[in-house]
Amino acid sequence: EDGPEGGAPAQERPPLSGIAPDALLRLSPGEYFSRFLERGVRPDGRGVRDPRPVALTAGSIATALGSSTVRMGNTLVVAGVTATTHVSADPPAAGAIEVRVEVPSVCGLRPAASGAADLVGPLVQRALDSSGMVPRGALDIVPGRAAWRLRVDAYCLDFDGSLFDAALLAVTSAVRDARLPPARVGEDGEVVAEEARPDPAGGSPLELGPAPLAPP
């Protein structure tokens, strides 16, 4: 076989015999992955278009208004919903959902995961806002005077790529799982601005459209 030359075609690349696969992965990741992709497979044996198994469990966190745990391959994201009542006449109260994606210290590969989370957080926020999943008015308590402000916190607990997909699925399914308590009304007949707590009687789901599955 020919020795290595600059610009040699891929099929004639000499075999790197004697190098252990995980050493090659560290020394030359591009080379490592090319050798799989040329044959149409990934290192874990999947075809290039085959997704990893996804597991989703919703509603298991009793202290949150809504929750979801998503496992996508080895990536693990837990999302929970909290809410406050926002009371305002001028400007008129409007509902909102704030999404945060964080990487706590418990997560491995934290530098890589934090970098991904910085990009993924705003992307998931935009995907949710632009999808129409939560229609204007769905968060109103008293239109124009009181509305729900939701906060969805997604935590990446184990990172193995696909953070956007896992976080988006966790956030949207947590919102769908959310059950809001009845808003408390004060003596003056006005809604009280406060943090919402899970309703022992169960609470009411939001009226939602279909969830987004792709970046905006």
Partner: protein
């Protein structure tokens, strides 16, 4: 025992990991290391570091960030106090192990769940230990005691006692008591907690042995 649920290997990127559900608290722990800190002076003994973070939705009653930060720091300090006697730090000169904890849900008492998670995760990581640590909380309502209290039960407590032991060695690693109770009630609570630690220890041991049998340790 139905009161506790434990599993290992939940966080695949970590050297060792565990999840514990106890008394309505759900806590994850991941172990990272051995880490070398070249800034530290040479020490013949290794060190443990602990970091605790609560999810924003972990508490049913919302608290000021300062209160959460204080709770996180207290749990971290107590986890270190409970686990330091158990780890053979003399086997790890000039290195440190990181015990990173995430509280998904806070029930009656987070600290025992955190200690159990750390103990199980360290064992899963094959960190050298003198013994597996089991921790348990007991609340006293004056007339009655309850082991592994839920959030609802803890609301009625006059005093709370938390104990961590190494049942295999018959040694106690940590005793924390808060609230008001007669000396007899405190001693009774400690005794009940020690028994609770033994029950937890048996369950943690079962989980580890099952994993070892599967060849996953």
């Amino acid at each position: 025992m139905a009161a506790v649920h434990a599993d290992v290997g939940v966080i695949t990127a970590a050297v060792g990991s565990a999840v514990i559900e106890l008394g309505g608290s759900r806590v994850l722990c991941a172990i990272y290391g051995p880490n070398v800190d070249s800034r530290q002076e040479f020490s013949g003994r290794g060190q443990l570091q602990c970091d605790v973070q609560y999810a924003t939705f972990a508490r049913r009653r919302h608290c000021e960030p300062a209160a959460i930060a204080e709770a996180q720091a207290e749990v971290a300090a107590d986890v270190l106090a409970a686990l330091t006697p158990a780890v053979r730090l003399e086997d790890y000169p000039k290195t440190s192990w990181a015990i990173n904890i995430f509280v998904v849900q806070e029930g009656g008492a987070v600290l025992p769940a955190a200690i159990n998670a750390a103990s199980l995760a360290l064992a899963h990581a094959s960190v050298h230990m003198r013994g597996l640590v089991g921790a348990s909380a007991v609340i006293s309502t004056g007339d009655d005691m309850q082991v592994h209290p839920t959030e609802e039960a803890a609301g009625t407590a006059l005093a709370t006692v938390i104990v961590a032991t190494m049942p295999a060695l018959g040694q106690t690693c940590l005793v924390r008591s808060a609230g008001r109770a007669s000396p007899v009630q405190v001693l009774d609570a400690v005794a009940a907690a020690r028994k609770g630690c033994g029950d937890i220890h048996a369950h943690l041991r079962k989980v580890l042995l099952a994993r070892a049998a599967d060849g996953q340790l």
